[in-house]
């Protein structure tokens, strides 16, 4: 079985957010992590590999430094990493991103494509389903559980108050929720192997069957009018306690802050 996992390097919310003058994120200037939903998707792929045997390829689109997230994936157990990077791909919205990734995926054999539900920097949840449309394969989104049965995947698709069990014939695409699993750690030896591994780097010319008009900032129907990094003050903590407990709680908080 061949599994491709689409992963994204996203800003680490602990490190603060920085913008380019055009309102897009200044990714080069921010601390980064592997997007949590994507990491769960990768873990799901690695579990299928452990269970049934599979070749797991991680693919990402981004700046050259997005290579780090591929090395992390390899250190966790992925077999290969593909970086899609090119100046003309910069500033892409979900449409241009899914076109780019689909263009790259047309070069690869796969039975199953796994993406995260959504990335913490955009929160759109559009790229996975869009890729499936471009590739004309079925999609099951919001997977909270994933199994393989013969040539099909069986997925529990999460809703607010229930889940649906859906079955799709492979090749297909599944979008994963962070709740799907607890991703494994890298191993120290895996890290050294990953750093020595060769990462495949593809540019615009390696994308198959994609028009220029669908790529990069120019190919993005979404334009950012204004972006701001001002952090709104939260509503604060709300607790519902009876008066006696509330006094203890407040005094405890004051002590914690060394006010009393």
């Amino acid at each position: 079985m061949k599994i491709v996992v689409c992963i994204k390097q996203v800003p680490d919310t602990k490190g603060g957010v920085k913008f380019n003058p055009d309102g897009t994120l200044d990714r080069a200037a921010m601390m980064t992590i592997m997007n949590p939903d994507d990491k769960a998707g990768l873990e799901a792929a690695l579990r299928l590999k452990d269970q049934y045997g599979a070749e797991v390829t991680a693919i990402t689109m981004g700046l050259p430094k997005a290579e780090d997230v591929l090395r992390e994936a390899i250190a966790m157990g992925a077999d290969k990493g593909i970086l899609v990077t090119d100046r003309v791909l910069g500033g892409a919205d979900t449409w241009a991103t899914s076109q780019t990734l689909a263009g790259a995926l047309r070069n690869i054999e796969y039975d199953l494509i796994i993406t995260g539900r959504q990335a913490i920097d955009g929160d759109t949840a559009q790229v996975g389903p869009q890729i499936s449309e471009h590739l004309d394969i079925p999609v099951i989104s919001y997977a909270q559980d994933l199994k393989i049965e013969g040539d099909s995947v069986i997925v529990e698709r999460q809703y607010d108050d229930r889940y649906h069990v859906l079955k799709a014939k492979m090749p297909c695409l599944v979008t994963a929720l962070a709740e799907l699993n607890e991703p494994r750690y890298m191993t120290p030896g895996g890290i050294f192997d990953a750093c020595a591994a060769e990462i495949t780097v593809w540019g615009r010319n390696d994308l198959k069957d994609v028009e220029d008009s669908n790529l990069g900032l120019k190919g993005s129907p979404t334009q950012i009018a204004k972006a701001s990094d001002k952090v709104r003050k939260g509503a604060g903590e709300k607790v519902a306690l009876d008066p006696a407990e509330a006094v203890d709680y407040i005094v405890g908080k004051l002590k914690e802050k060394h006010i009393v």
């Binding site: 090395r71 750690y185 890298m186 120290p188 030896g189 890290i191 050294f192 990953a194 750093c195 060394h258």
Partner: protein, 384 residues
């Protein structure tokens, strides 16, 4: 000379840090309070390969260098000194001598499960009458047919009751030279838990590293197969000394981690705590204390990393290891003491980590060679 870490070392550090923060830190206070060995953490560390970092992959390890291993002990010790020493004693004192002196059969039988973390290791050299004077051993091993019969006891053994495989030293004979001076011939043995005649004595009640299971090991007519002799008969003292050179890098890394952990906690605290209407960090005394602590921690780090690199590239590294351990241990004691002072009354309570770190730091000046022994090793290599 380039002081920057490689990409792989940086990634390894981020892994150790993440693991320490998520899996180890939340339990550190409880491990100290209850003096319970953190078995669950050890099982998790086994799963991610932390129990065989410098062991070659063909023997079930991770195939990394001593620097990566030292960084693991450092990051674990930043949040929990107990967890740091469990890994250090297992790796440096049990895996390492079997890796260095073991036969292929011994490596397959013992090193592979140790490196995979399926088994935990320990090392028994110290005896009631043989601490710094390691030649003062009393434990004896007598060859009887195909087995050595061990009698005696070992004390202060880290991972004592929790380990499965032990490297034990015992006298196998006495040589008298031409001048009539006698010298004990010490040999090293691999002893498995459960071997008849091998039992546990008292558990030590310690000031720090309270979860590390420090026990007395008792050998009463304990029969160990001849093939479990590690290295050549009579060469045990050299094996012990060489093993301790490596062990000192692990303990130096533990000391470094404790100092860094205390420094980090203090930096956060002095910015938060207000007195006389200002944060403590606004007072010059605090700033100077923090500057001194940070400078010493950085110097300790350089010595520890240099010693780890020396182990990777040099045949002998006794002086580098001794300097790293001496300095890092004394810095750990000084920095943790200052950390408690800067925390004031709160620092003296068990609610804050720095109190535990100060208690944990003290042992780094004592075990695997006291600071005085390190000075003896260093000076003996300078004044000849």
């Amino acid at each position: 000379m380039d002081f920057t870490l490689s990409k792989a070392h940086e990634m390894a550090r981020s892994l150790f840090k993440e693991f320490a923060e998520k899996e180890v830190k939340p339990l550190a206070q409880e491990v100290d309070e209850t003096e319970e060995f953190p078995r669950v953490t050890v099982e998790k560390m086994a799963k991610v390969g932390f129990l065989g970092i410098p062991v070659p992959k063909e023997y079930g390890g991770q195939g990394c260098d001593p620097l990566t291993y030292a960084m693991c002990v450092e990051e674990l010790s930043k949040v929990c000194g107990t967890t740091g020493v469990i890994v250090s004693a297992h790796t440096s004192l049990c895996c390492d001598p079997i890796m260095t002196y073991g036969t292929e059969e011994q490596k397959q039988k013992y090193l592979v499960p140790l490196a995979k973390g399926e088994k935990l290791g320990a090392f028994g050299l110290t005896e009631p009458g043989a601490g710094t004077d390691a030649q003062g051993q009393q434990t004896k091993a007598v060859l009887d047919g195909d087995e050595y019969v061990l009698n005696g006891s070992k004390i202060f053994i880290t991972n004592g009751k929790e380990a499965d495989i032990y490297v034990i030293f015992a006298i196998t004979g006495v040589t008298v030279d031409a001048k009539g001076r006698s010298k004990k011939n010490i040999s090293a043995f691999i002893v498995e838990k459960g071997t008849p005649g091998f039992s546990f004595g008292t558990k030590e009640k310690k000031m720090g590293i309270r979860g590390s299971s420090t026990y007395e090991l008792i050998f009463t007519d304990c029969r160990v197969p001849k093939e479990n002799l590690l290295g050549k008969e009579g060469k045990g003292f050299g094996i012990a000394m060489h093993t301790l050179d490596g062990g000192r890098i692990g303990i130096a890394a533990q000391a470094l981690g404790l100092a860094e952990g205390a420094l980090e906690s203090t930096i956060a605290y002095v910015q938060e705590r207000k007195q006389f209407g200002r944060a403590l960090s606004a007072f010059q005394n605090t700033q100077f204390q923090i500057a001194d602590m940070a400078t010493k921690v950085e110097a300790a780090k350089m010595l520890v990393y240099k010693a780890a690199m020396a182990k990777a590239t040099q045949k002998t590294y006794s002086v580098e290891a001794a300097m790293a351990k001496l300095y890092a241990a004394e810095v750990a004691m000084e920095v943790t003491t200052k950390a408690v002072q800067l925390h004031g009354g709160y620092g003296y309570t068990r609610e804050y980590d720095v109190e535990r770190m100060m208690r944990d730091a003290k042992i780094t000046e004592i075990y695997e060679g006291t600071s005085e022994v390190q000075r003896m090793v260093i000076s003996a290599n300078i004044i000849k």
